[in-house]
């Protein structure tokens, strides 16, 4: 009954190379789990004549762990990530974030790569064709005004994936395949602060794997939302922290649901050597509040999302310090 999907064609490649070759054509898009893309296509906010279905590409589905690090294929489903013993042992924060995404039915098909490349979201954007047309479209879709910040030049839709902030604080790198071959880069370089085009992938480029360090045990993720399931984060916070002799060795804070990209909070290296006390927590709070830039992209107040992010950051730092 979906008019919008009526005329698409699907290609089902078996290898990464085939997939990349197929995707180079015009109007083609990769299809991972489809839990976001198909909804967006049905609403008419994402259009594509051809979907390159990645479900049959086995090379995207491997998880390999050794002493030097862990490599997770972009096509690994969230449910598999959650249940993977080695992942939960080494990276509890990844499991916390993955388990907080949508609902079990989604997690059975949604993938790591899909969550990292999730489209940005906005209350003026994730609406039906009738709704957006009645509202004269928006900067992200067919229009020339951002209804969130009409005087501005850019789209403010918020990145709302749960996994990215965790992978950022863990120092993950990503591997990308494209018509020009493969490249590897820090995850942070996948994103830019533009709600309309927040990914730096070129046309036809495919996220194929995430490279993680050998261990990320002292990290945690928490998400603020109204309900215990289904909801995207109003604010999501990941913290990774190591301590030495009761003092901070390294502290990293990642945010989602606030800006147009997942954000690795800058300036936390200054906390090295400090004890986790009220002053430190206040400083973390200030830093998060300063760098988080939520705007009216959700029905919940933007100011609240900033406060909640800071509160959760404080809490996670205290928790990871053992307090």
């Amino acid at each position: 009954m979906s008019v919008e999907l009526a005329n698409i064609s699907i290609a089902r490649p078996a290898t990464i190379e085939e997939a990349v070759a197929l995707a180079s054509g015009p109007d083609a898009r990769y299809l991972a789990g489809g839990t976001d893309l198909l909804v967006n296509m049905r609403r008419g906010i994402t259009r594509a004549a051809r979907l390159i279905d990645l479900a049959g590409v086995d090379a995207l589905k491997s998880i390999s762990c050794d002493a030097s690090g862990v490599v997770v294929g972009a096509g690994v489903e969230l449910a598999r990530l959650i249940e993977h013993e080695e992942i939960s042992r080494r990276f509890p924060a990844i499991v916390q974030a993955a388990a907080a995404i949508a609902a079990p039915g989604h997690r059975n098909v949604a993938t790591l790569g899909g969550n990292l490349c999730l489209d940005t979201r906005c209350v003026y954007y994730n609406q039906s064709e009738w709704w957006r047309s009645a509202n004269a479209w928006c900067l992200k879709n067919r229009g020339d005004t951002c209804h969130v910040a009409p005087q501005g030049e850019r789209c403010h839709a918020a990145f709302s994936g749960d996994l990215a902030p965790v992978l950022l604080v863990l120092g993950a790198e990503i591997e990308v395949a494209g018509p020009a071959g493969r490249r590897r880069m820090p995850l942070a370089e996948l994103y830019v602060e533009d709600g309309r085009a927040h990914l730096t992938l070129a046309h036809g480029e495919l996220l194929v794997a995430v490279h993680l360090p050998a261990d990320g045990r002292n990290a945690a993720y928490e998400k603020v939302r109204l309900r215990g399931a289904i909801d995207y984060p109003l604010a999501g916070v990941a913290v990774a922290m190591t301590m030495q002799d009761g003092r901070i060795e390294s502290l990293r804070v990642g945010l989602t649901g606030l800006n147009s990209r997942p954000l690795l909070v800058a300036g936390t290296e200054a906390f090295a050597g400090r004890a986790v006390d009220d002053d430190l927590l206040k400083a973390v709070d200030r830093l998060v509040q300063h760098q988080a830039q939520p705007v009216r992209t959700t029905l919940a107040a933007a100011h609240y999302r900033r406060l909640a992010a800071a509160a959760v950051a404080r809490r996670l730092v205290r928790r990871l310090a053992g307090g």
Partner: protein, 162 residues
């Protein structure tokens, strides 16, 4: 016949409730429409505009998925189960019986999806805790019961099969 040129259909073979079906489908066809309109399995309900309510939950190779987020072409050669398929010789299975006896179903609209998500849970974890039941049914919205009797129904079915 009405005019606009549509892409060619392709044949898919899917095992639906234990019976292999072969049907011509378009690439963009969703499993929910295939099950309702082609296989006439109307237990698979449409409650939302895409992926939000869980009423169309079916098992794909034993794993619960939303049929409204699943392309039929992805089901080629695979096994799909709906609540109709749990009935054997006209008898409801243990979960269906429990949802009936314990009033896990009021209006009944979310019930088939709720039962399929529960069925997947009990196959994997025959004796779940209440929190495990909650986690497994987190994507299935019900507006009638407050979920109290749904949890009781699943618990009862688990006890019945002990």
């Amino acid at each position: 016949m009405h005019g606009s040129a549509k892409p060619r259909k392709r044949l898919v073979r899917i095992e639906v409730n234990g019976r292999w079906c072969e049907d011509a489908v378009s690439d963009g066809d969703l499993l929910v429409d295939y099950l309702r309109d082609v296989a006439h399995l109307t237990s698979v309900k449409v409650g939302c505009d895409g992926g939000e309510c869980g009423a169309c939950t079916v098992l794909l190779d034993g794993v619960p998925v939303s049929a409204c987020l699943t392309l039929v072409v992805r089901c080629e050669g695979r096994n799909v189960e709906t609540v109709e398929g749990l009935v054997k010789q006209g008898r409801p299975n243990r979960l269906q019986q429990a949802f009936h006896e314990k009033l896990g179903a009021q209006c009944g609209f979310c019930t088939p999806g709720m039962i399929m998500a529960s069925e997947a849970l009990l196959r994997r974890n025959p004796h779940p805790s209440d929190d495990e039941i909650r986690a497994a049914l987190a994507g299935n919205l019900c507006r009638c019961t407050g979920y109290v009797k749904i949890i009781e129904s699943v618990r009862h079915a688990a006890e019945a099969s002990a």
